[in-house]
Amino acid sequence: MDQFVINLLFVGASFALYIGIAIWARAGSTSEFYAAGRGVHPVTNGMATAADWMSAASFISMAGLIAFTGYDNSSFLMGWTGGYVLLALLLAPYLRKFGKFTVSEFIGDRFYSPTARIVAVICLIVASTTYVIGQMTGVGVAFGRFLEVSNTTGLLIGACVVFAYAVFGGMKGVTYTQVAQYCVLIMAYTIPAIFISLQLTGTPIPALGLFGDHAASGEPLLAKLDAIVTELGFNEYTAHHSDTLNMVLFTLSLMIGTAGLPHVIMRFFTVPRVADARWSAGWTLVFIALLYLTAPAVGAMARLNITEMMWPNGGIDGGAVTVQQIENDPQYDWMSTWQKTGLLAWEDKNGDGAIQYYNDKNADMTAVAEANGWAGNELTKFNRDILVLANPEIANLPSWVIGLVAAGGLAAALSTAAGLLLAISSAVSHDLIKGSINPQISEKNELLSARIAMGVAIAVATYLGLNPPGFAAQTVALAFGLAAASIFPALMMGIFSTRINNTGAVAGMIAGLSITLLYIFLHKGWFFIPDTNSFTDADPLLGTIKSTSFGAIGAAVNFAVAFVVAGMTKETPKEIVDLVESVRVPRGAGAAQDH
C-alpha cells in the first residue's frame, strides 16, 4: 500500500478515536467544562496532563534541536522536566486546597484585587498565545508532510482541525481524549526509537542504547558520533560549547515557566484531594519521562544515521552521497518527500554530482574543502522540526511505523493546542467577562464567549505561525519565559509569603511581564513580526543572554519589585493572612466553589 494511504489511515483512525471519546464525554455544565467535576484519578490525570504538556515542541521539535547541537541543548530535557519538581513542591497541593477553577481566580482572591485578577489574565493570555504559535508551527510541519503539501497549506488545514477539535468539549472531554492521545503519542515516539536502537546498538531500550556500544564499529555510540561529526567540522556532540550563563538561565526559565503555565496548573484542580495533587504531579512526570529519556537517544541516533547517509562509504575518504543515489535509491526516498514541504533542500553547488554535507562555517574545513573541490555545504536546508517525523523513514522502518509517527505528532500538537485554547477561553469568559465585566452572564453565553475567544486565539496564532519566530520548541521556550516572569512568582509569593499585598503582586507581575516581553520583542521583532527586531540572539542586548533565556531574569525582577512595593505599602489584611494559612494545610479541602 502507498505510504500516503497508510499515513491517512493511521491519522484518520486516531482522530476518529479522539472525536468519539470527546462526544461520549461531552461537557454539560460550566463546572464540567473547566474542571471535569473533580472525579479524575491521579494516574489518569497524570497521563492526560502529560499529553496536554507534551506538545509539538517535545514530540516534533526537541529531539531535532538536540540532534544538531548535542549536549548544549540538554537544557530542554532538564528544564521541561525539572519544572515539575517546582510544581509539585511549591504550587500544586496549595492551589488544589484553595479549590477554585482557574489560576487567575487564585491570584484575584489571594491578592484581594480584581486588578490582580485581570493582570493575571493578561499574563496568561500572552504566554498561552505565544505557546499556541509554537504548536501551529509543529502542526504545519506534520500536516504538510502527511498530506504532502507545502508547509503553509499544512498550517492552514491544521488550524481548522485544531479549532474544530477544541470547540468540541471542555476539560472532561479533553481529559479522556488526552489519555488516548498520550497512548498514541508515546507509542509513536518509542516504537521507532526501539527499532533504531536495535539497529544501531542491539539494545531494545533507547535510553540505554544511547550510552551503549555502536554495534557496527564496537565503539561506544557517543564516541563514534563525536568522531564522525568532528571530521566534518561540526562541534563535538557531547562537549559543552555554548555560553554557561545562558545555558543556566535558559534551563531555569524553562523550569519556572513549566510551573507557571496555566493549562498545566489547571490540571491539578481536577484531582479529588490535596494528597492526590502531590501524587498526580509525580505520575505526570513518569509519563513525561518515558518520552524525555528516549528523546536524547532519538536525537543522537538520528544524527548518526543522517551523517552516515550523507557519507555512505565511511566518512570523507569514501566520498559523499551522489545526486543519482538520492534520486533513485529507495533508501533516500525520504529526502524527495521532505523536499516537497520546502523544509529540506540540497544543491550540487560544485557540480560534481555528489552532495557534500559539512560545516562550511568552520575555518578548519576550508583547507579540506579546497583539497576536495567542495564549494560549501550542499545540504542547504535541514529544518530541525522535521527530524522526528522523518526519522523512521531515514532508518528505513516499515511503513506502518511511519504512519504511526504521523498520528503521534498530530496527537501531541492537537492535545496541547486544545488544552491551551481551553485555558485562554476560560481566562476570557470566566475571569474577564464573568469575573469583572458582566457577572450576570448566563451559562450559555459564558460557553459561547469561551468559544469565540478560542477562535480569535487560533486565528492570531495561525497568522503568526506562518512566519514563526523560531523552530517549534524555540517559540514554545519564549512562552515559558513569559509564564516564568509573570505567573509563577505571583503564585509562589501568594502561598509562601503573607507579606506580599495586592499592589506588590500587581506591580511585580506587570514589571516581570513587560520587561520580558520587551526583551523578546527587541530580539524576535515587535509582536513577532519579522524584521522589526533591533538585536539578534546571536548578538544579544545583555551579554550572552538570549531572548529565550530571559524569563529567569524577568522572574527575578517580578520577585524584587513585588517585595519592594509591598514593603512600602499597606500590610495584607487579616482575613487574607488567614486564607493563606488555610491554603497551607490540606485539612478541609472540599470540592471547588464557583463564584
Binding site: 549536549y71 540538554s74 530535557l77 532538564m78 522536566t81 525539572g82 515539575y84 519538581v85 517546582l86 509539585a88 513542591l89 511549591l90 497541593p93 535510553a207 544511547l210 550510552f211 551503549g212 556500544d213 565503539e219 561506544p220 555510540l221 557517543l222 564516541a223 563514534k224 563525536d226 557531547t238 559543552h240 554557561t244 545555558m247 543556566v248 534551563t251 531555569l252 523550569m255 484531594r273 490535596v274 494528597a275 502531590r278 504531579a281 509525580g282 512526570l285 519521562a289 529519556l293 536524547p296 509562589m492 509562601f496 509569603s497 503573607t498 507579606r499 517585595f563 487579616k574 493572612v577 488567614d578 493563606v580 494559612e581 497551607r584 494545610v585 490540606p586 485539612r587 478541609g588 479541602a589
Partner: protein
Amino acid sequence: MTDQSTHATGASESDKTYWQANLRIIYVSLVIWALVSFGFGILLRPLLAGISVGGTDLGFWFAQQGSILVFLGLIFFYAWRMNSLDREHGVEEE
C-alpha cells in the same frame, strides 16, 4: 523563599510546626534538585569529567537522563513524606 506567616496570628501552634516541617523538606529537596541539574549537569560537569559513562562523562548523563530520574524520585519522595506528615500532624483531609 521567604516566610513571615509564622509570626502572624490565626494559625494554631501545630499548624505552624507542620508548615515549618514542610518548608524543611522543600529546602532539602530543592537543594538536590539544583545540584543534579544546574550542578552535575552544567556547572560541575568539568569536575565529573573523569568518570566515564558510555563514551562520554557522568555530567553528560546527568544533563540528559540522570537529572530526570532524580526529579522523579524527589516528587514521589515528597508526596509520600508529606502525606505521612499530614497524618502525624492531624491535618489530612477527612
